[in-house]
Amino acid sequence: MIRIEARPQPSALMAYATPVLAVVLTMIFGGVLFAVLGKDPLEAIATIFWEPIFGEFAFFYRPQLLIKGAPLVLIAIGLALGFRAGIWNIGAEGQYIVGAICGAGAGLAFYPTESVLIFPLMVLAGALGGWAWAMIPAVLKVKFGTNEILVSLMLVYVAEQLLASMSLGLLKNPEGFGFPGSRNLQQYGSAHNAEIIAGTGMHWGVVAALIAVIFAYVLLTRHRLGFAIRVTGEAPRAAKFGGVNPARLVLFCLGMSGLLAGLAGMFEVSGPSGQISIDFNVGYGFTAIIVAFLGRLNPLGIVAAGLLMALTYIGGDIAQSQLGLPAAAIQVFQGMLLFFLLALDVLTNYRVRFGTAEVA
């Protein structure tokens, strides 16, 4: 018989070691997966983790690290605030989409006027869009006690429909020869989220992500609101006794994570992606959940985890083109990472006992 029982005192060392261990295990089992697919496992792993940073074309891939990492970190920071308080926003992908639509829409409304005010306005619109989309599950939870996990997740699919409708209708490029998708913002100077330093991948989204990291770090360690978030996650009754208003906290956490996801969407659509299109979203909102947990819901950890996940995205792309690995194998590889992390977390807090039933 196999049983699990709580460890009286989980090891503090293990809490920090598990992310590293999870990465190592993912490499091992990912290698096995790649071997079964008929690829050289060592070469595949090296392609994913080594090639982007030190390979022949690293000059091209390194900036990608920031471009892919920034939205992940930005979204994960917001999610982590809620997760710390036991508020589960699973719909960042939807908030990301709506943020992009609002941001792009605000910019395109002024086309072709050029003004320095347009980009800040788009930032504002993107943030508001993501915030508003997250407020739907927040208000429903506060007013009617609905489950924010379900509502926020379902709203992702609503947002995807909205995205399709926008690319085919309202925001469709009038000069686009009937192809779906909006005008390319990269060609609209005032609305373009261009690289701040050319060739580095450093765009305004990266700056926003860094500000969010510092903001979240200060909030969680030095501010009453961050303290309220942590107490609520640890002991909801104690938080209420301490004077935390649970409803207000739900509104804040969901609102803040929606806002950051919306910003991420806006920076993406006005920069690397360039246009609203049916396949604009690539799953950053979901991957950010992995990033948040891999980073131990800690702002600094999230930076490291975000860069690591960005690496698997880029390395995965290279592996696809160079080794012919299927895209699904890369997704399985990323999924393994979360799986091993959660499994190791269980083993940190519990131990498995093997043995037959004792003598009665």
Binding site: R224, G242, E358
Partner: protein
Amino acid sequence: MTDLLALRGLTKAYPGVVANDDVSLAIAPGEIHALLGENGAGKSTLVKMIYGLVKPDAGQMEMQGSTFAPSDPRAARGAGVGMVFQHFSLFDALSVAENIALGMETPPPMRTLAARILEVSDTYGLPLSPDRTVGDLSAGERQRVEIIRCLLQDPKLLIMDEPTSVLTPQEVEILFETLRKLSAEGTAILYISHKLEEIRALCDAATILRGGKVVGTCVPRDTSARDMAELMVGSTLTTPKASSHSTGDVALAVTGLSAASPSAFGMALRDVTFDVHVGEVLGIGGVAGNGQDELLAVLSGELAAGPGMVAFQGRDMHGIGPEARRGLGVLSAPEERLGHAAAPNMSLTENAMLTGAAREGLARRGLLDWAKTRAFAQRIISDFDVRTPGPENAARSLSGGNLQKFVIGREVLQKPDVLVVNQPTWGVDAAAAAAIRQALLDLAAGGAAVVVISQDLDELMEISDRFAALNEGQLSAPRPTAGLDVEQIGLMLGGAHGMEVAHV
């Protein structure tokens, strides 16, 4: 007669502390043996070893002459050891029989089980109907469920951890009758309690632990409570003394307070009216589950009440939340230490922040001053003799009594105008309880109004100026404590709780 259970040289060390150091004791069949000691003296570790929850580092246990080393509670139960914990593990929404079946390895069919329950409850004078829902039972009745659960396994040794802390005086009498009957039939009982008078009335022998070591044994009937207490503490005891003081204006007035309970198995408050004056201690007695938690929640601001129901210094508290009330001077300490009064996994410093932020100036414009908070936590630890290596330790790592001292100290040191406490000395050893009571008395003498909600009548008699009883959500009119005897109070409390079944 050979011993039923013999412990020889049991030692158990945890990192940084030796919980049990060479502990030996022997219990004969049918003996009621008391285990005495302050919090942290090692009582729980010792019974956990007997019950298979903890493995000793050194030493042997023998059960009826053969080696006894239970690897888990199931093995211990198999060997004839039953245990009734201080905190019950029952499901409110299930019936008595269902709860009992859940704890069994191979439960018999429900009808057979119900019959067995009735038989055992009849034999031992523990009135209990198998198909009642546990959520509707009083604390005393819940305890009977736990006891019957143990008795169904025909234990040779029954361990009882602080069994009377939740009972009315009348319920205590019923319990004692049961235990004496069990003892007469040859079941040995290991009885853990702080209430020395009870031990004197019930137990045949006592082993006293201090700092993990056996510091003495005695025959309780021939030893005075004071001597036992001094053995336990290792020093002379001082009983709390109220300095003579006069009471002044009304500090807190509760008028016609009615409020529904937030929990499905809670008790709604019905038309509760009382006031507390400056410099006064009002004692509110009653068995837990009769509206105590709800009353504290209303006064702390966690549970909303209607306009005009609660007034502090003449000001209506309607719509004022816990944090704002603290700012005004109304503080409280709930019963549940872990998870309500304190966040278990957070440090003592962080827990000091939990309620101290406003009055101690620990936050300025939302930014937290951790250095100042740490100093505040340190002050609580030193002023209230909280035994812990330091304020960076998690609340969960403290023993129950030490955490209670911390929680009470945290509120008292903030110099409240009104302090409401629920079960301030629950599970706290004699010395610490005396210190807490003294702190409450000093607070009142200093001009605060203090409301003490407690199940411990001796405690209420000792410290309160006036006494009221909370029963089924209703509060009796407060009466001056002087001149009330325990019997009268027991009746005020609805002391016959559960007795009607006994006479059927």
